[in-house]
């Protein structure tokens, strides 16, 4: 074997000895972005598919929750910026080659869609601002009266969600300099990971509601939204939960397959990419990748969910929480390991 030693006098913070430009902020942003993308897509899908008014209300507060989570995510992104007060510069231009520019504009477009969808499902009660609520209610009714508009909102939610989910992966995927990210699979992978975590989140909320852990008359806007989220009028909450479990299992399976494709793709690629892959498979990130992402993040919840669906065990929040944790760790590890991977 050839002996190679490389030494450098460069000692730039964040860059040496290995790239560490992104800490917790970007994984959190990507995670929440993916989660919101999943919520958007799911609620948009149900809004589009449902025929009756009662069915339309199956996932009433998902958009409101999405607004909150997306805002948190963008907050994390903002915290990551080193020149944060120049952030408006993003919206003075559109850079077609920059995924980040695309992402900024997608986020701008997603917000109105989210708000519109939120308006369709106003809360029943709020602690203050009842007058405003009445106005909103009227607007909501006005919108419901126009099926084309509702359809358009639903469609924009669905499309926006998919775009947002894909973007979170493509953002990393276009960084040619980081061999680990250099894969077209990252877009779909992050999309499906987002979908599965969104389904898991809904499942959690259904269960919380089913078990009556929260006083349903509690009128706080956010909590109300959270716990009303999956209230399907005229439908047994557990059935709704089951639907989510089913969806989650499907998304998880696709996610697992995409991870396999991602791994195979890198393994079949150039030497630098194979080396980058080793970071996940055998290197420093291997225990987290195998145990916490593939193991407790995908396989264990899949098994538990299939047992739940088969009626062998009770529905619990456990698989859903594992899925959500796994989805976060997936982004965490990919962001961290990707930065470490390099061409040299």
């Amino acid at each position: 074997m050839q002996h190679v030693e490389i030494s450098t006098t460069r000692a730039n913070p964040l860059v040496d000895p290995v790239l560490q430009v992104w800490g917790w902020e970007i994984p959190v942003y990507l995670f929440l972005g993916g989660l919101v993308a999943g919520l958007l897509a799911l609620s948009g899908f149900y809004l589009l598919r449902s025929r009756t008014a009662s069915e339309r209300g199956a996932w009433p507060q998902a958009p409101m929750l999405g607004v909150v989570l997306l805002t948190l995510g963008m907050g994390a992104l903002f915290l990551d910026l080193d020149h944060p007060w120049y952030v408006w510069r993003v919206y003075l231009t559109f850079e077609p080659a920059s995924p980040m520019s695309w992402g900024s504009w997608i986020l701008i477009l997603v917000y109105p869609a989210l708000f519109a969808a939120a308006l369709l499902h106003p809360p029943e009660r709020v602690p203050f601002g009842a007058g405003l609520l009445a106005v909103i209610r009227r607007g909501s009714e006005w919108m419901w009266a126009r099926p084309r508009l509702v359809q358009a909102i639903a469609l924009s939610n669905l499309v926006g969600g998919i775009a947002l989910g894909l973007y979170t992966g493509i953002l990393l995927g276009t960084m040619v300099a980081r061999p680990l990210w250099n894969s077209a699979i990252l877009g779909p992978l992050f999309l499906f990971s987002g979908l599965s975590s969104a389904a898991a989140l809904m499942h959690v909320l259904t269960l919380v509601r089913t078990h009556g852990l929260v006083d349903s008359t509690y009128a706080d806007l956010l909590l109300h939204g959270l716990f009303q989220l999956l209230k399907p009028p005229g439908r047994d909450p557990s059935t709704a939960g089951e639907a989510m479990v089913r969806a989650d299992a499907a998304f998880l399976s696709v996610e697992g397959a995409l991870i396999a494709l991602f791994v195979i793709g890198l393994a079949a690629s150039t030497e630098v990419q194979q080396q980058a892959l080793q970071l996940l498979l055998t290197g420093a990130y291997a225990p987290v990748f195998w145990c916490l992402i593939l193991g407790t993040g995908i396989l264990v919840p899949l098994v538990l969910q299939s047992l739940e669906l088969a009626g062998r065990i009770r529905h619990t929040v456990v698989p859903a929480l594992l899925v959500i944790a796994g989805a976060f760790l997936l982004r965490w590890v990919l962001v961290q390991a990707g930065q470490v991977s390099s061409w040299t």
Partner: protein, 171 residues
């Protein structure tokens, strides 16, 4: 399915399975099972997080912080596995439920205080004895380690000696 917890397994078969796991640890790693050192490592990491200098200067914590220490400590990962394994088994056995396990004659606060106290004793004891029930009694027992058998006998001795005094806690 909704319903009551399922019964526990036959202790001999559970023991056999545990023995096989232990054997696997021997064959794969050349070491046995354990738990208490994971707590030490965790404590060391927390101390280091709060005050790195203090942790480095402390002979006890610094031992758990070098290469292969901290969260890279083998037992930390093993204990993480124990948690997940127990969780999955509990879920499948329908035995996961938030509860305070206590004897019929003690209240919840008392039980919680005693549990904390018991943990304190165990933590100190494990550090002195060089391992807890898993690390010393189980692992060392299988290796026919002299110190482990001594420890094992003393664990049961200590517990039985105090059992009478504490009968109100449990019966």
């Amino acid at each position: 399915m909704q319903g009551s917890p399922r019964p526990y397994a036959n202790p001999y078969l559970a023991g056999f399975g545990l023995g096989l796991v232990l054997l696997a640890a021997f064959v794969l790693m050349g070491r046995g099972l354990g738990a208490s050192a994971a707590f030490s490592a965790l404590a060391a990491v927390i101390v280091e997080w709060i005050s790195p200098g203090h942790a480095a200067a402390n002979p006890f914590f610094s031992r758990y912080l070098g290469p292969g220490g901290g969260l890279e400590e083998w037992l930390v990962w093993e204990v993480a596995g124990v948690f997940v394994g127990g969780l999955v088994s509990g879920l499948l056995g329908n035995r996961v439920r938030p509860a305070v396990e206590r004897g019929p004659r003690v209240g919840v606060p008392v039980r919680l205080v005693l549990a904390f106290l018991g943990g304190l004793f165990m933590g100190v004891g494990a550090k002195i004895a060089g391992g807890c029930t898993s690390g010393q009694a189980l692992t060392g027992g299988a290796l026919l380690n002299v110190g482990s058998w001594v420890t094992m006998i003393c664990i049961f001795g200590g517990a039985y000696a105090l059992a009478w005094l504490l009968r109100k806690e449990w019966t």
